[in-house]
């Protein structure tokens, strides 16, 4: 995983609440068995509308998404995170994320930055007035800056550490394989097995 310290890029405003994972990427795309190339499915039905924010010329090449509350609700599909990342997003900013989505994002290296809804409104205003405004997300300082506006953001401290170190979760856990084996040795015999 790539290390994440500071990211600067342009941002797209997504003025919608409760953007569920079916909207982020429809079930149709879940049939694929590869891990890359999901950008074409991102916001699939909305992208058919020429006025949808990601279709507007001013928002090409964005890497930060500023969304309404309760982003990523619904199914646990990780494809939602892959689609956002394959499209080029590095950061999603919202006042509230669904738990599973946030968990999935952390594992893949997509930063979900939680800010007050008022800060979301402020950022929307800035990037709507001037879409080319660079937005800087500093993970170390946990601060977002755009055109002189600054706001702190929240992120799980463990996820932050892992993102900053670029560490793979499984490798980290396997360092504790002895403890896992010790736990297994003590499991009661009444627990079921599948075979």
């Amino acid at each position: 995983m790539e290390k994440f310290t500071v990211h600067t890029g342009t941002a797209a405003p997504l003025r919608a609440s409760n953007v569920d994972t079916d909207q982020i990427i429809p079930a149709e795309y879940l049939k694929r068995i590869t891990r890359h190339g999901f950008e074409d499915g991102l916001f699939n039905s909305w992208r058919k509308d020429a006025n949808f924010v990601l279709n507007r010329p001013a928002y090409q090449g964005v890497s930060v998404l500023v969304a309404g509350p309760d982003f990523g609700t619904g199914s646990s599909r990780e494809h939602a995170v892959w689609a956002l990342m394959d499209y080029g997003f590095k950061v999603v900013i919202s006042s509230r994320f669904a738990d599973i989505f946030r968990g999935n994002s952390g594992k893949q290296g997509l930063l979900t930055a939680v800010v007050e809804q008022s800060a979301v409104e402020q950022l929307w205003k800035i990037i709507e007035e001037e879409p080319s405004t660079p937005v800087t997300v500093d993970l170390e300082a946990q601060v977002i800056t755009a055109a002189g506006f600054t706001t702190k953001f929240e992120v799980d401290s463990y996820v932050r550490w892992r993102l900053m170190e670029g560490l793979d979760d499984i490798g980290l856990t396997l360092k504790h394989v002895d403890e896992i084996a010790a736990f297994e040795a003590k499991r009661p015999s009444f627990k079921p097995t599948t075979i």
């Binding site: 609440s17 409760n18 569920d20 079916d22 909207q23 429809p26 079930a27 149709e28 879940l30 049939k31 694929r32 068995i33 590869t34 891990r35 039905s45 309404g68 509350p69 309760d70 609700t73 619904g74 199914s75 646990s76 599909r77 990780e78 995170v81 509230r96 669904a98 738990d99 599973i100 968990g103 999935n104 594992k107 893949q108 799980d156 401290s157 463990y158 979760d169 499984i170 980290l172 856990t173 396997l174 504790h176 394989v177 403890e179 896992i180 736990f183 297994e184 499991r187 009661p188 015999s189 009444f190 627990k191 079921p192 097995t193 599948t194 075979i195």
Partner: protein
């Protein structure tokens, strides 16, 4: 201070706890299916890692499978590729897979409880958000993403932060004709689709204790629709009775040891929840959704709300958008909404009790003119059990389709889909835009409401049938 059910189960699975790190939690049972696993197996292969506990892992084919002509090759090449990938992966990594045609095959959340793999006090995960279903047994059942699937395959553990706990106490008895599905839809409408975020819910109280295991599974299944990671119900005699004698249930001395342990799990009297919600069961009536998320629901006897009924700007907008998508007028009686297709099935309501409830209402009746009704058992075993009871005949005589087991019309991943503009009354769990097929409109209902709706052609409860021409 005492501990809650969730805290006890959690504590008993902590492999490692360290300051500033999430707990490393042991996973008792890992359920997999064709949709969220291929990339996880790919990851293992790339890293040269084996599956740590094949004996705690099981696979089934459910999301993509057709529910007719299952002896023919799957037509859609992408669906077929996903199923093939699961077969190759499970074979290569040594995991048992219940293939289409196997009598153990079915929806992942139906097969584990029915075979006795789901028991109280376990940690159960699956790359599917409705894993919360298994909480009905007093286990922590959690949906996980594909990276986490890979993590569990490789390590049989997950690094997780403890969740907060919320008690949802349902006092009193549910009125006759009001089911677990109505209750959970009413709870979601009450606390909202984000209300459970960060929490494990525990359903308690007289009305919950009175529910069957099937009803409890329906409740816990939909916890995720309230934003919660898991929903739980303390194990009791109803739970033990259900588990006892099933294929994977403990036997002999193991059974006694297990029951003794399970009895220690219910929340202590002096335990404190982070949040409590109290619901009066006696005030409830059949409940359905009118909008495009499971929180947009109302009693069947109500009218379609207007955006003006909401003070919050976000709710107002969401209502406006939902009414437009659903093609509904504010103020119209919900009972007048005309339905094209009724779907009975899914991991929410595809169990034997659900089919019995629907059959009881359909018996001796015909579905409305022009109505399409699909009955899809959640597993092959449910299908066979229903057929042994003659339920298939009831459905067929009423004019419904009786199909093979699978997720079917719960989501648009297999041939069972709504066409654009088509309106369904569905016993599934999600009414999101396009969930049952692009442009499809979904009303979430209980099996009883689904059956009554099929007969009358408009959203109806069984009580509406009394004295009507049918």
């Amino acid at each position: 201070m005492g501990r809650t059910l969730a805290q006890k189960v959690w504590d008993d699975h902590v492999v490692r706890r360290a300051e500033g790190e999430p707990d490393l939690l042991y996973i008792d049972l890992h359920l997999t299916h064709e949709v969220t696993s291929p990339q996880a197996f790919d990851g293992l292969r790339a890293a040269g890692r084996p599956v740590r506990r094949k004996d705690l892992t099981i696979a089934t084919e459910d999301h993509n499978v057709p529910t007719t002509d299952i002896d023919k090759p799957i037509v859609d090449p992408i669906s077929r590729a996903q199923i093939d990938a699961l077969r190759i992966n499970t074979k290569e990594f040594g995991i048992e897979n219940y293939e289409l045609g196997n009598k153990e095959q079915g929806i992942v959340h139906i097969i584990a409880p029915q075979s006795g793999l789901t028991q109280p006090g376990m940690t159960i995960v699956c790359g599917d958000s409705h894993t919360s279903t298994h909480g009905a047994f007093g286990s922590i059942g959690m949906g996980i993403g594909t990276s986490e699937v890979e993590h569990v395959l490789a390590t049989q553990t997950l690094p997780l932060k403890p969740f907060k706990t919320m008690a949802i106490t349902v006092n009193g008895k549910l009125p006759v004709g009001v089911t677990a599905k109505d209750l959970i839809l009413a709870i979601i409408a009450e606390i909202g689709t984000g209300g459970g975020q960060g929490y494990i819910l525990e359903y308690r109280g007289e009305a919950i204790r009175a529910l069957s295991m099937e009803g409890r599974m329906t409740m816990c299944n939909m916890s995720i629709e309230a934003g919660a990671r898991a929903g739980m119900i303390a194990p009791d005699e109803t739970t033990f009775e259900y588990v006892k004698g099933r294929e994977h249930a403990p036997k002999g001395a193991d059974w006694d040891a297990a029951v003794a342990y399970w009895k220690t799990l219910p929340t202590d009297d002096d335990a404190v929840f982070d949040r409590e919600v109290i619901i009066d069961a006696t005030k409830l009536s059949p409940f359905v959704t009118w909008g495009t998320n499971p929180g947009q629901g109302a009693p069947l006897s109500a009218t379609v709300p207007s955006p003006d009924d909401f003070t919050d700007e976000v709710d107002k907008k969401a209502t406006e958008k939902a009414l437009e998508y659903m093609d509904l007028k504010a103020g119209m009686p919900i009972r007048d909404i005309k339905i094209d297709t009724v779907f009975i099935g899914s991991c929410t309501n595809g169990r034997i009790e659900d089919l019995r409830a629907a059959a009881e209402i359909l018996k001796g009746n015909k579905i409305a003119e022009g109505m399409r009704m699909m009955v899809v058992p959640g597993s092959v075993r449910v299908r066979l059990e229903a057929m042994a009871e003659g339920l298939d005949k009831v459905f067929l005589e009423a004019g419904a389709e009786w199909r093979e087991a699978g997720c079917s019309m719960c989501l648009g991943m297999n041939p069972d889909k709504l066409t654009p503009g088509e309106r369904s009354a569905s016993t599934s769990n999600r009414n999101f835009e396009g969930r049952q097929g692009p442009g499809g409109r979904t009303h979430l209902v209980s099996p009883a409401v689904a059956a009554a709706t099929a007969i009358r052609g408009t959203l109806s409860s069984p009580a509406d049938l009394v004295g009507s021409s049918n």
